[in-house]
């Protein structure tokens, strides 16, 4: 696979711009075709997702018209389900890197064949992240104020501007890597290393950065003791490396069942191995946070106290966090069984459990208690409103739609079922 062997054996065909102009159009045409063709199962899936996203779109439109009063957020709990999902999805996007590292650094063959699935997941997740930020804006019509040069970009002081940079950068990197690899496969040519390997290495560092920066959004706020901990960024990373691989393992199995794409046993085995470690680290970090909070007590423990045990009859988050804790522990136990990858159902269950566990831990279990009690120590609870659930479901449906379509294009191209070349 090294570039040397390629160039020595077969000079890469020289294409001029005109060639690319036409063949790239054909590539897009093919992609469009692949996106709209499929089994009845595919159509049903897409129709369901479209319906859900329609509900979400409508709910969001109403929210913009009537104001964010239709959400359950208020001046005390000023971020809710949207930012919770945003935070989690940044992790999911970063989690894909756990396939990239074995594939490109350690040249894991099985992983190399399937790594695109993780990279495409990153694309879909980042799109969802950006959508969650947009629906959280009170004035989405002023989005252009956030653009460097056009608007006013408060860089480098505001962590949110860093997040804008790293998220969009990560999206572009992955679009480039996936787009390039797919196009080359479509042409039936071997991708040139220099056009993607450097970007892959940048994307590895970048994946760490998106989640670190997102953690810095919260842990840099001195007025919110629950978030104001240096452990937040490492915790974000480990939980991302639990949720990301968990999602991909399930997707790999689905792909194996629904398509003819060859998913090597090695990928699943490696991902399971990664999860075994990350989930333990995640649990240890959680335990040390809990110890610090509860043993010290005082102002720093109030939010944790509320989160885990409620306060004076207020316990909206208690069921959430204990569900999360139970799922994570059960998931960890299942994953730690030595032969878990031979019992695929167990593995699937474990993956679903830890995925949900992390979703709660990083979302409702992290964002909401940061606001409860408020900075003046007032107790206002938060339970997402119907609008918020609709918009959230809509964005997830949209994201899954994007991911499905990306896979729908990538898998046939990768399995060489389709291509635009002489030997195609």
């Amino acid at each position: 696979m090294s570039s040397n062997s390629i160039t020595s054996e077969e000079e890469p065909p020289h294409h001029d711009a005109k060639f690319h102009a036409t063949s790239y159009l054909q590539f897009l045409k093919l992609a469009f075709k692949l996106c709209t063709e499929g089994s009845w199962l595919f159509y049903a899936w897409m129709i369901v997702l479209t319906a859900i996203s329609l509900v979400g779109v409508h709910a969001w439109a109403v929210q913009v018209e009537q104001g964010m009063v239709v959400t359950a957020m208020n001046d005390h709990v000023s971020w809710g389900l949207y930012i919770a999902n945003f935070t989690f999805l940044v992790g999911l996007a970063a989690g894909g890197v756990m396939m990239v590292i074995p594939a490109y650094i350690y040249h894991d063959r099985d992983m190399h064949d399937t790594v695109i699935i993780g990279e495409l997941l990153a694309i879909a997740s980042i799109v969802m992240c950006l959508l969650f930020v947009v629906v959280d804006l009170g004035r989405p019509d002023r989005f252009w104020h956030l653009m460097p040069f056009v608007g006013k970009f408060n860089w480098p002081v505001s962590m949110l501007t860093w997040d804008v940079i790293v998220l969009n950068g990560y999206l572009l990197l992955n679009l480039h890597i996936c787009g390039y690899l797919l196009y080359k496969r479509f042409l039936g040519e071997t991708p040139e290393r220099k056009w993607y390997v450097p970007f892959v290495f940048i994307s590895i560092a970048w994946a760490i950065s998106i989640h670190t920066v997102t953690a810095f959004l919260y842990c840099g706020l001195g007025g919110r003791p629950f978030w104001n901990t240096a452990l937040l960024a490492p915790r974000f990373l480990t939980s991302a490396f639990v949720a990301g691989p968990a999602f991909i393992v399930v997707v790999l199995q689905l792909i194996r069942r629904l398509t003819k794409f060859k998913v090597g046993e090695g990928s699943i085995r490696t991902l399971t191995g990664i999860m075994r470690i990350t989930i333990l680290i995640n649990l240890i970090m959680m335990a040390s946070e809990i110890f610090t909070a509860f043993y010290t007590g005082g102002a720093h423990a109030v939010s944790s106290q509320y989160l885990y045990f409620g306060h004076d009859g207020r316990n909206a988050l208690v069921p959430w966090i204990w569900t999360s804790a139970a799922f994570m522990v059960i998931g960890a136990v299942l994953l730690l069984r030595p032969k878990v990858h031979e019992h695929l159902w167990t593995l699937d269950i474990a993956c679903v459990l830890v995925f949900i566990g992390v979703w709660i831990e990083k979302g409702m279990g992290l964002i909401i208690p940061g606001f409860i009690p408020s900075t003046l120590h007032e107790w206002v609870e938060y339970v997402p409103s119907a609008t918020e659930w609709k918009v959230t479901a809509g964005i997830w449906a949209g994201g899954l739609m994007i991911y499905t379509l990306l896979l729908k294009v990538a898998i046939p191209v990768f399995t060489k079922k389709v291509s635009g070349t002489r030997n195609g």
Binding site: N74, H76, F149, F153, P156, K194, A316, W379, E381, Y382
Partner: protein
């Protein structure tokens, strides 16, 4: 051939470097731009040190009259001057509550330390007040009287940090009206009265003020 490849690599890394440098330059330039803390447009000049507008202290509008408790034909309370009765009665130096007095003073609420009525009222001339050294002082100069004991409050008042006011903080631009002692403190029971608070915050969804402590609930248990 090899020459060619080296050239290609140079171009490649050149492009990457340019993109990288451009990216960093772009970010730094937004930084430089945003660091330009022009905190607004023109700042107005300091207002000239010209003449200061006056600070007015509200004058107590007190007549040496007392209500008889009766109403006249128009429904207005009938008032009598202090001297009407006190001209020919002996002063009671011990009296320190309304109930100890006769007639009109019965309902008077009195709660002002160990003072007796004649600590402040002048038995020589009930239309004036009496300072500690016995000198008479006009009824509307109560601030002088009060500050004999409440020197700290008076000092704070003179420094502008006691007592309500309205008007201008910047006396070069406008005057100010300040309360006098008895605007807030009834001289007979000077403690500021208990009031019903206005404008309670409206609870939002998810807020349950009912579980908040009222003075009778659990937080009281600290005692």
């Amino acid at each position: 051939m090899a020459q060619n490849r080296r050239g290609g690599n140079l171009v490649f890394f050149g492009v990457i470097a340019v993109i990288g440098i451009g990216f960093v330059a772009a970010l730094v330039s937004t930084w430089m731009k945003s660091d330009d803390w022009k905190p607004g447009r023109v700042t107005t000049e300091a207002s000239g040190g010209g003449e200061l507008h006056p600070v007015t202290i509200r004058q107590p509008d007190i007549q040496p009259l007392v209500a008889t408790g009766e109403l006249d034909a128009h429904g207005k309370p009938v008032m009598v001057a202090c001297a009407t009765c006190h001209d020919n009665r002996d002063p009671n130096y011990q009296a320190n509550s309304g109930s100890a007095l006769e007639e009109f003073h019965q309902g008077l609420k009195y709660d002002h330390g160990n003072q007796t009525c004649l600590s402040c009222h002048n038995s020589e001339d009930y239309n004036t007040l009496k300072q500690a050294d016995g000198r008479a002082i006009a009824l509307n100069e109560s601030m002088t009287l009060c500050s004999q004991c409440h020197a700290l409050q008076h000092r704070d008042y003179q420094n502008g940090m006691h007592g309500g006011m309205t008007g201008y903080w910047d006396l070069t631009r406008g005057g100010r009206t300040r309360n006098t002692c008895i605007d807030c403190h009834d001289p007979h029971h000077p403690k500021f009265p208990t009031v019903t608070p206005v404008f309670p915050p409206k609870p939002v969804i998810g807020e349950n003020p009912a579980t908040h402590d009222t003075p009778s609930s659990h937080h009281e248990n600290h005692e």
